[in-house]
């Protein structure tokens, strides 16, 4: 109970945008996972490549920003994985990779 209350009142807790910003970004991970079930012809190479670089940079940002944001870090690590997987599906479908 005390832990829950500490979380609720935390300066990076659910009453603050430091929590909801990263929660919103988990949407990219979820959307990415949903899109893995769609045919690779629907993948946008532009957007997926952009997402890969974006999550790479924001992993570092999450570490350096104050307050340090572990939720955001976890989100971008996950997104990097999903987007790299989608990029590989796209590249295979385009014939760039066998």
């Amino acid at each position: 109970m005390a832990a829950l209350r500490a979380f609720w009142n935390s300066p990076v807790g659910p009453k603050t945008t430091h929590f909801w910003g990263p929660v919103a970004n988990w949407g990219f991970v979820t959307a990415g996972l949903v899109d893995t079930q769609k045919p690779p012809e629907m993948i946008s190479g532009n957007m997926t490549a952009a997402m890969c670089v974006y999550s790479g940079l924001f992993m570092r940002f999450a570490w350096m920003v104050r307050p340090r944001n572990y939720l955001l870090l976890a989100c971008h690590v996950s997104n990097e994985a999903v987007q790299l997987y989608q990029l590989s599906r796209w590249a295979k479908a385009q014939g760039y990779v066998y």
Binding site: T16, N25, G27, F28, T30, D35, N46, M47, L57, V65
Partner: protein, 109 residues
């Protein structure tokens, strides 16, 4: 005068020597990729993805004003993301729900 201003920007806590500058600067590529995808047919737009782009753009616009260091670069790029996301969503909604009548008419011909 100009040199002093340049120095101030160069050494800013959210300036070009820090990730606080490069992460948001790169994030523009997402909006640019989205703009490039404006010319793709709406069938190729992903509802989940564009909804996330729009929502994160809106929430992060607020986030960027309360973090340390306060980041107007991040603020502007998220406004851009929200705008392109909402536009892509409107294109797909228009195609899926608002133009059914017209499509049927064309097929009959």
């Amino acid at each position: 005068m100009a040199a002093a201003k340049f120095q101030a920007l160069w050494n800013h806590p959210a300036g070009p020597k820090t990730i606080h500058f490069w992460a948001p600067t790169f994030k523009w590529v997402i909006s640019i990729a989205n703009v490039a995808d404006f010319s793709k047919p709406p069938e190729m737009i992903s509802y989940p993805h564009q909804m996330v782009v729009a929502c994160t753009g809106i929430i992060w616009s607020r986030y960027s004003l309360v973090i340390t260091p306060r980041n107007l670069n991040l603020f502007s790029v998220n406004i851009g993301m929200a705008s392109t996301g909402l536009y892509q969503l409107s294109r797909k909604v228009r195609e899926d729900y608002l133009s059914d009548g017209k499509e049927e008419h064309v097929e009959e011909q």
